[in-house]
Amino acid sequence: MSPETANLEEIVAQVPPARGVVEPLPPVNAEGEQLLEISMGPHHPSTHGVFRMNVVLEGEQVVRLKPVFGYLHRNHEKIAENAAYLAAIPYTDRLDYLCSMTNNWGYALAVEKLAGIGVPERAEYIRVIVAELTRLQNHASLIGFLMQDMGMSGTPLMYAFREREKILDLFESLSGARMMCNYMRFGGVRVDTSAEWLRQVRELNGEFPRFLDEFESLLAGNEILMGRAQGVGVLSPELAVSSGASGPMLRASGVNYDVRKVDGYGVYDRFSFRVPLGDHGDVYDRYMMRVLEMRESVKILEQAVRDIPAGPIMDPKARLRGLRPKAGEAYGRIESPKGELGFYLISDGTGNPYRYRVRPPSLINLTVLEDMCLGRGVADVVVILGSVDIVLGEVDR
């Protein structure tokens, strides 16, 4: 044994504890045997950002898992409370940085409720189109990331990015930015779509099912994938509802709850689409929910592009600057690709929101992470986390 090894305990004692670790439970099992405690993250290839899990293992089985957040915390809510209503929109882009369009919509919806602003019909259709495009690209890349976590050397991820790129190109030509779109405004959208843009959406939409078929033949029947995903990370419908899980994760457990259907916000009640439901609530169901939802999104897009009316894109009463809603509060929520994205606003009659709160689907979907992972191996933890679909910008805000 080298001298370095001998005084390791001393060396370890000198290193101050990392942030956020106050874990009083000692890593021992019922028999008092020492367990293996590992810290997955914040620098880990598959925690999707700077997320950390304190995992206690017995052999390779998880007996305890505590998520640690806050590495990307920037107090988005405080920033928004100190700025005008308008100034928060570009910050919402950076919450779930894959889906800036839906984030914009969620916030715009809450402000419209708070201030009683209407939205012209054409703007509502444009919102539906961009939101469904966002859903397509988010779900496609999520499946890519999930497969990456299963060790697929990036092939599905690259296919997903190939398609995502086309959608981002559309976003760029519409809003000027690929990811941080900053596109929606209270009472409408910022710029109008051209006929050419809509034609491109129609074209992309026509080609998208081919990509989904490709995905399906590459993945859906793969025995290894089925072995890795089926029966792993099972979430019961009761626990899913109680724990506030939302989006594809809730529906994979068989709970029929889609905010697009339930609230019918925007013009969603004009489109015919179905809500896929899973029966097992495992990783495979969560994966398949995304695939099936993409197929439904394609249908919605088809109808929206076909039916979009002509007209203004901004409510004439809406003002860009100096919005001062009456004192009061409003909670607006939408079905973002990750789940139920809510914005809670309290106005005190001034130009800044008194209270600005984001209900982050990514964070709340993680509530049951430990329940899903207990008794499974490290390999499953990674896959289960991947199937939850989190973006750390939204988890930590």
Binding site: S153, R162, I224, G227, R274, D279, L292, A379
Partner: protein, 393 residues
């Protein structure tokens, strides 16, 4: 020059050089001249393969792959090598320095040992032993030690997990690997690799009729051997020991710089060696695949077949997700082992039946039957199936 002369050109050169040297050192020169080319050729092959793999994977994923350094990116390994050399060599504070240092060296050394018994061309084998196969598997088993050394010496939990996985996996898959080659040994009646190649020589018309891969037991044996080989060389979908998305990089998490590169070298050398053995055992070794192609030198054929198998490795890597530890073990003991046993059984029938279509069918039946049964059991036992979903309006 005749084709014969071209085929034997390296052998001739070596003999000539040995004869030029003084008689006292002639054995040493002979050994050196046999070993040195291997030490040069296979690492170069490693360099080329890394580029080809990255380009191939890239094309499968609809991108270019490396194409910036040199023509078509083929100087990429040079750049990578320089980068690995000039990187800081970090040894963790808590590591067992000696073990940590020795592990990559030992890995590469044992990988090179395996090449001693692989005939890369007609009359081109370093050590033509009677028990070549035994030697090969013994050397292969030593790799596990070095991998465990790396995992243990790093004093890192991820390394430890990776090393544990690696040892468990490699020991489990050694059984089907050896058993599937036993079928070949039974038919060939020899453990010597050169003899095995010679037994597969000869053509039926233009077809290489005697290759063992064209028998039912050989075909199944070849597939099983390749699956086990993938697991032995820690390649996807059996790359659990390094399982990058789960345990960072497994046993070589704590390695950097050139030691890290050595691990890569070791992994690829192991892959070449085991593919070389597969070529030798099932694909007729250095023999040409069609009778009219015999004018091409034997060593070209060997490397062509080797690279074909490597391409298969790359293809699989680009397609399949990784297994989980328990699935890996189940697969090894509940599927691979019974299958290899039935392959041996089938080879036994083959040995004693008169040749003809009947023999072919009779030998194929038990294999197909067991495959069907085991496949059903594996999938049905855990109810793996494509699902149908319900929709709410």
């Amino acid at each position: 020059m005749t084709t014969q002369a071209v085929d034997q050109i390296f052998v001739t050169i070596k003999h000539w050089l040995v004869l030029q040297s003084p008689a006292v050192i002639q054995p040493a020169v002979s050994v050196l001249l046999s070993v040195l080319p291997l030490l040069i050729i296979f690492p170069s092959l490693f360099a080329v393969t890394t580029v080809l793999e990255r380009k191939g994977l890239g094309r499968m994923q609809n991108r270019y792959g490396p194409n910036r350094v040199g023509p078509y990116g083929f100087l990429q390994p040079l750049a990578d090598g320089i980068k690995a050399l000039i990187k800081e060599d970090i040894v963790p504070v808590g590591a067992d320095k000696l073990v940590h240092f020795l592990a990559p060296l030992l890995l590469v050394m044992t990988a090179f040992l395996e090449y001693a018994v692989i005939p890369v061309g007609r009359n081109m084998v370093v050590a033509d032993m009677d028990s070549a196969l035994v030697f090969f598997f013994a050397a292969g088993a030593a790799m596990e030690v070095s991998i465990f050394m790396a995992g243990w010496g790093s004093r890192n939990k991820y390394s430890m997990l990776g090393a544990m996985r690696a040892v468990a996996q490699m020991i489990s898959y050694e059984a089907p690997l050896i058993l599937s080659s036993i079928a070949v040994v039974m038919i060939a009646g020899s453990l010597s690799t050169t003899t095995i190649v010679e037994r597969q020589a000869g053509y039926w018309g233009v077809w290489p009729y005697h290759w063992y891969v064209f028998t039912p037991w050989g075909m199944a044996g070849f597939v099983l051997f390749m699956i086990a080989a993938t697991a032995e060389s820690n390649r996807s979908p059996f790359d659990l020991p390094e399982g990058e998305s789960e345990i960072i990089a497994g046993y070589f998490t704590e390695y950097s710089g050139f030691k890290f590169a050595l691990f890569f070298l070791g992994e690829y050398l192991g892959m070449f060696a085991i593919s070389g053995l597969a070529v030798t055992l099932f694909l007729g070794g250095w023999a040409a695949p069609l009778s009219f192609l015999t004018f091409i030198p034997s060593w070209i054929w060997f490397f062509a077949k080797l690279m074909t198998l490597i391409a298969g490795f790359i293809w699989i890597r680009g397609t399949l997700p990784r297994l989980r530890m328990d699935q890996l073990m189940n697969f090894a003991w509940k599927f691979m082992l019974p299958m290899t046993l039935v392959v041996i059984f089938s080879a036994g029938i083959w040995r004693f039946m008169p040749s003809g279509i009947v023999r072919w069918v009779v030998c194929a039946i038990p294999i197909v039957l067991l495959y069907w049964l085991l496949g059903r059991a594996l999938m049905g036992g855990r109810k793996l199936e494509k699902r149908t979903y319900r929709f709410a309006e």
